[in-house]
Structures are given as C-alpha cells and as structure tokens.
C-alpha cells in the first residue's frame, strides 16, 4: 500500500550486514522523520480563524452584497430569513430563550464570537460544496447573517480589520467546565423511599425497533425509511380526513437503465441526493413519482439545462449544478438521467 521499495538480500550480503550490525545498532532518540513544511504548503491549509482575528484573510464584505450570495448558497437549507428548512440549522432569532423550556440556539442568541461564523462558513459551507466560496463571498455571507441577527448594520463593511471587534450578544454566556458538579454517595441500603418513586415509561412509536423481530428491520431505521414512514403517515392522515381508501403503492417493474444513468448514480449519491432524497428547497424527490410527472413532460433536455445552469421558480430553487461547480457537465447530465430513469 504505502510501500514501494522492494528489498532482496543475497546470502553473502546478509552475512556481511550481520558482521557489521553488532557495532552499528544504537537506540535512536533522534528520529529525523518527516519533511519541513514550506510556508506555501502551510498557507494553503491554514484556514482557521480565532476570535482575536488571527487567520482572517485581507478583505471585506457587507450585508447588501451578502443577501444575494446567501440566497444562492445558503437559503435552500437555512431559509430565506435564517429560519431553517426541515431539520437544518436555524440561524436567526431565539434571543432571550436560552433559559426557557425550549431554547432556540442560533448565531444571534447563542454563538459567542463572530469569528466562528467566518471560520465555519469557509471550512464547511455550503454543505454540498465545502471550500468552494472565495474570501469575498465568505465576508459577504458572514455580514449578511450578522445583519439578519441585528448585530451589524446593513451597510457595515465587515473586514479583517474589524471582525474581531464585533461583539456578540451571548459572548459572556459561557463558563469553563466545572464538573464534577454532583456527588452521589455510594449508599447500599434504604437509599430511596419506594413510596415516593414514580415510574415514567418510554414514549411509544418514536424508536426504530425493527430489530426486535428476528429477520426483519424497521422501515424507519434508515433516513430514506424515515421519509417513507412519514409519507405513509401523511397518507393515512389524509385518508382519515377524506375517507378515501389507501391504495398500496404498486411495486415498480425493474426497467434496465441506460449506461449513462447507471454512471450517474454515484454523482447522484455524492452530490444531488442531499436535496433530491429529502425534497429540500422544493427539489423533486426521486422516490416521489408524482413530483416528476409534469417535469418529465417538459422533456429531459430542459431538466438537464436547469441542472447545469440553475433554476429558480415557484416549484423550488436550484443553484447551477446544485452548487457543485467542480462537477463536469457530463457528470451532472448523467445524474439527471439517473433521476429521470428512476421514474420509469
């Protein structure tokens, strides 16, 4: 795997090595392993930012420019107002809720430092294409999220000079671990009063417990299974209102896919599935045949064009190549064919 050096010893060579070995073997303390990291190598990977501003690249941005960038790269998961879609993180609101029964932890209500926002966006966002934004875009989005949380003004020019001075509402809301914070004596008898003990049972129906049945597994013990389960619950709910009978989905006949569609499955899984499995941002779910009927009538070419160039309309929103600019046109086209042919 890592080894490419092939060693072979002849008998005489072994003998001569053995003769010299006795005097030459020492216990090495000085390893001298590894190469010097060049300034250029370090600069390429040294992406971290600290609250004191260490690591910030020279540059600036503002919320006015950040709005469009945010809507392009962030809103499909985090919501247009930072309110969060589905189970994706909420970015705004929640002020004053931290001591309430259901606290809402957001950038504005919880995060102690603005630097964390720049650092995280740069290292991990957007979810489907990390490290794809340039510094200008990261400054703009950071400014826009801070603006949505009423932390900076819309026209404030956020820069490497002033980001460390941006004060966050909950900066003083943290303290360093002070555990152990409880002390339980090792009592052996009469440790509790049985008369006062109350028993609370588990909620029913939220655990994926298919493994209790031998040879079976719960339909909900996978993320796709969860969506199927939610869909079937929704169908039951509607049926109970309308009185319609539930029609069991007819098992699809297996149809052979084209070579291009088969090749597209890997791209679909790595890039497209995040939205097209769960229906994020109005994306038609691959498992939802109804969502595809009208789209298929428009022709596959148009779907490919939308996938390559992006689409924004009433039905939903999709950035060009789903935000994955690194993908080739062919890879995206194949992935579209995979989704289309999955409907057959």
């Amino acid at each position: 795997m890592f080894k490419s050096l092939k060693l072979s010893f002849s008998a005489t060579l072994v003998a001569s090595v053995a003769a010299g070995a006795i005097s030459s073997v020492t216990y090495a303390q000085e390893y001298n392993i590894g190469a010097s990291a060049s300034a250029q190598e370090i600069a390429g990977w040294d992406i971290d930012i600290r609250p004191d501003g260490m690591g910030l690249p020279v540059g600036s941005g503002n919320a006015v420019d950040g709005e469009e960038t945010y809507e392009t790269f962030c809103a499909s998961c985090h919501g247009v107002f930072g309110e969060g879609e589905g189970r994706w993180p909420v970015l705004t609101g929640g002020e004053g809720t931290l001591a309430e029964e259901r606290p809402v932890k957001t950038v504005g209500s919880y995060w102690p430092y603005a630097s964390t926002l720049f650092d995280y966006i740069r290292r991990a966002m957007p979810f489907t294409a990390p490290m794809s934004l340039d510094d200008q875009q990261v400054y703009d989005i950071t400014a826009y999220v801070l603006y949505m949380n009423d932390i900076i003004e819309e026209d404030f020019e956020l820069s490497n000079e002033n980001l460390a001075q941006v004060s966050m509402p909950n900066e003083d809301g943290f303290f360093v671990d002070d555990r152990p914070d409880v002390s339980n004596p090792r009592c052996m008898v009469d440790c509790a009063d049985p008369e006062k003990m109350m028993l609370q049972s588990s909620l029913a129906g939220v655990t994926p417990i298919g493994h209790f049945v031998e040879g079976a597994d719960a339909p909900a013990s996978s993320h796709s299974g969860q969506h199927d389960l939610e869909a079937s619950k929704e169908a039951d709910r509607k049926a109970s209102i309308t009185g319609e009978e539930i029609v069991a989905p007819v098992a699809k006949k297996a149809v052979a896919m084209s070579a291009a569609a088969i090749a597209g499955e890997a791209t679909y899984k790595a890039a497209c599935g995040v939205c097209h499995t769960n229906g994020l941002a109005g994306a038609p779910k691959v498992s939802d045949a109804g969502a595809w009927t009208q789209r298929l009538q428009q022709g596959t070419d148009l779907l490919i064009t939308h996938a390559l160039e992006g689409y924004a309309g009433n039905a939903g929103y999709m950035p060009a190549k789903g935000g994955r600019a690194d993908l080739s046109d062919e890879a995206v086209t194949n992935a579209v064919l995979f989704m289309v042919e999955s409907q057959h």
Binding site: A37, A124, V176, N278
Partner: protein
C-alpha cells in the same frame, strides 16, 4: 393451494404474534422463520410439515454434516454468519436532517467482552465518509513549533508504535432522554459507544520532533473531510495521552473511523478525536470553533452554558437483560453490563433490583483497563418477579455515577450532552424489558 410468499408469511406471523408475550413471540417467530425456510427450500405447494423443523436435531444427522461447505478465500475478507444479520449499526433518522451528517449506534446489546468489532463501531460525521488515498494524505504540524513538519503515512508508521485499548463515546450518548425516556431499546439509549485497540504514535512524540515552543498552550486538530472538523485541545491533554492512530483492532482504520489517520483523546468526548486528521496547529489560545461553541457546549437551566466539557464521566448500563434481550426462562440468570470512565479505571459496579432502594456489588470480569469498557456481572435467580434493575459504577477517583434527578437538579434538561445517569430497566413478569425512568 398456492404457496404464500415469504413476505406474506412474515406479515401473518407478525400479526398473529402481536398479542403474545415477548418470550412467546420469540418462540413463535423462531418457529415461523423455519416455516419460511422450509417452504422456500421445498418450493412445493404446501407449507413444510413440522417434522422438517427438527430434522437437524438429534438423533438426526444435520444437513451440514452430510455435505461440503465452502472453501478457503470464498470470502477473502471474512464476514459474520448470515444468521447474525441482525447485528448491525442503526440510526434514529429523526435526529438529523441527512444521513451524510448523522450518527449510527453500535449494537452493544449483542456484543461480548469489551472490544467492538470494526464494522460495528458507532459512526458520527458531518460531511460523509471521504475516500482518501493514503499515498496522498499528509499530516502537517505548524504554529508555535520550531520546525513545521509534514508527514506522509509512511513517515508516521516509521515511528515506534503504541497500541492501547480505549473506549470512544459521543457526548450525546443518552442525550435524547434528558426530559424523559423515549428510546425503546439499548442500542439507541447507549449505543454511541465503542471500544477498540488503537495503534499509532503519541502526539507528544510528533510535537517533540517539531520542537514545541513553551508558549504553545492549545492545539487545533483538523480533519481532511468536507467538514474540515476542528477542535481545540489543551496542551496538558496532548502531552498526557493523546494519540495519532492509523489502526484499530489489528487492521488499518475503517474509512468511517478516519482512514488513514485520526486523533484519539482517550476518555474525552468522541468529537475531539478528529478523524481524517490532516493538520495540527499549536497556538497560545483556543479557537472557539463551531463544534466547541454552537455545538458540544452544555446549556444549563439558567441559560448559561459550559464549554470545553471534555471528559466523559463515569457511566454504566446493563446490557442483559435489556429491551432487546428479554429474559426467556426462569431460573439462573447472569445480569451483565458495561461500565466506563474518562477519568481512569472502573473501581466497581453495584446493581439494584428494586429501583435503587438497595444495592449489591457486582463482579468486574475480564480486563479492567484505563479508559476502556469494563464488563460487570451479577449472577442470580429469576422466578418471574418484576424487577427495576439498575447499575451504578464508580471509578478510581471515587466519583459515583449519579442519578438522573441529581443531574437534572444541577443542570436542568437542556444540556443535550454528558448525561451519564444511572439507567433503569423494568423487567415484567413475562420477562419483557422496558426502558423507564424513576423520578
């Protein structure tokens, strides 16, 4: 009569078994499974007779004794028996938005001893499992060091290696139950927990090679995956026992465990053991990154939050009986479980059968190692009496695993992380086991 499909049979059986007790149900399903197998094997028009169910039992010579099996390297990388197919990692899908940034739990209800097999170690990652070519993977060490260094995997494997058995636990293990019990199975209440023999190099050795400067008080560890997961670790921990590991349980790391290289902070919350490790920067202050501010901080009842809550405090749970392992027969029973502490070794475990009114010492069995899973055992008789069974571990520091009431009183119910309270199983007279909380 037409042959019912396997699926139809399964549905019929499940329906018919719903009113049965757990033990009855297990027996019923076991018989039913044989029906299915028998019917499939003969492929005839009638369901196989009951006689075929016992054809492999004495005095008959079993089928596998009358034929040849598969040869060597049929599976070049061996797999478990197909009869163990239910022993798998599972997830709770409603916990997270996406499987790419999610968690799966180890089936600790099915595991023996203290080592978690590599394919069953719980998974947690934030941008999926990267496919890393080890020849193109590097570890960079820079910041407050005299000589910034960059290592290939071959370089790292030239250093003298160490192998240590350590548990790794997500601090959110059990975190779904701060407000009340809601998981009906051990795998989901405690499965964010695994224990392996890890092989690698102490990070101290690498920092010595780079020339650690005295101003260096913290390190930032960073992954090479799409999340570029990053955590600040105080230098005291690093110089104490932090490892850079490339192998687990005798083979190279699994991709989902950080192949080809990960950090291991023994006894500390799993998130600090950065996977796909590519960079260590030494600094004089912590970085306060997303996973140590927005996440992995513990919100208290007053709205303030603890940060840098690194250590996994002493904890334990009974793994048999448990909801997945009901008591099937009266008479002798070994009550077994796991105990662990991030503060060193487990000193002892007590068990209670009456919900914590009285306690009796259990026996520790097998290896009792620093920051490793430790197995405990209590042998007794069960005659169908209802039990509220609990385990309570204590460690070498004298810390005793607390009750949930004590934790709630101190922290409230919103901290998500670090819930290490005494766990209760309710054993019914049928042998069925349920997850409950005592308040």
């Amino acid at each position: 009569m037409t042959t019912p499909s396997t699926q139809q049979l399964m549905q019929t059986m499940q329906g018919a078994s719903e009113h049965l007790s757990v033990s009855d149900r297990r027996e019923f399903l076991r018989r039913g499974m044989s029906y299915v197998a028998g019917a499939a094997a003969v492929g005839g028009t009638t369901i196989a007779s009951a006689a075929s169910l016992t054809s492999n039992l004495p005095p008959n010579e079993p089928q596998w004794g009358r034929q040849l099996g598969t040869g060597v390297v049929e599976n070049p990388y061996g797999l478990p028996s197909r009869h163990e197919a239910q022993v798998v990692r599972r997830t709770v899908p409603w916990l997270t938005a996406e499987s790419i940034s999610s968690i799966s739990m180890s089936p600790i209800q099915d595991l023996k001893g203290i080592i978690t097999p590599n394919g069953l170690v719980f998974e947690r990652y934030h941008a999926g499992v990267p496919d890393i070519n080890p020849d193109e993977h590097r570890l960079m060490i820079h910041g407050l060091v005299d000589n910034p260094l960059i290592f290939t995997m071959e370089d790292l494997m030239r250093f003298p290696s160490v192998s240590q058995i350590k548990f790794i636990e997500c601090p959110a293990n059990g975190g779904m139950e701060w407000r009340g019990p809601q998981m009906e199975a051990l795998q989901f209440t405690h499965g964010m927990l695994s224990c392996c023999e890890w092989t690698g190099v102490p990070l101290k050795v690498l920092l010595d090679a780079a020339g650690l400067q005295t101003e260096g008080k913290w390190i930032l560890a960073e992954g090479a995956d799409g999340a570029h997961m990053s955590r600040s670790i105080p230098i005291e921990k690093v110089l104490d026992d932090t490892l850079v590991v490339y192998a687990q349980n005798g083979e190279m790391l699994r991709p989902e465990q950080g192949y080809p290289l990960r950090l291991l902070n023994p006894g500390w919350e799993g998130n600090t053991s950065i996977k796909w490790l590519r960079r260590i920067e030494v600094g004089d202050k912590p970085w306060h990154h997303r996973e140590e501010t927005s996440k992995y901080t513990d919100l208290m009842a007053d709205g303030r939050a603890r940060r840098f809550t690194f250590v996994q405090e002493c904890n334990s749970v009974i793994t048999s009986p448990c909801p997945e392992n009901p008591i099937l027969r009266k008479g002798f029973i070994e009550v077994e479980g796991l105990a662990w502490t991030g503060r060193g070794t487990i000193k002892g475990v007590d068990v209670s059968f009456d919900g914590g009114v009285s306690w009796r010492p259990a026996k520790l069995k097998g290896l009792v190692l620093d920051k490793a899973l430790t197995r405990f055992s209590f042998t007794t008789q069960w005659q169908g009496e209802p039990w509220l069974i609990q385990s309570r571990a204590y460690d070498e520091t004298g810390y005793v695993q607390p009750t949930l009431a004590q934790l709630r009183e101190q922290r409230g119910v919103n901290s998500i992380y670090h819930k290490n309270s005494i766990h209760t199983w309710q054993v019914a007279p049928t042998g069925e086991v349920k997850n409950v909380q005592i308040t």
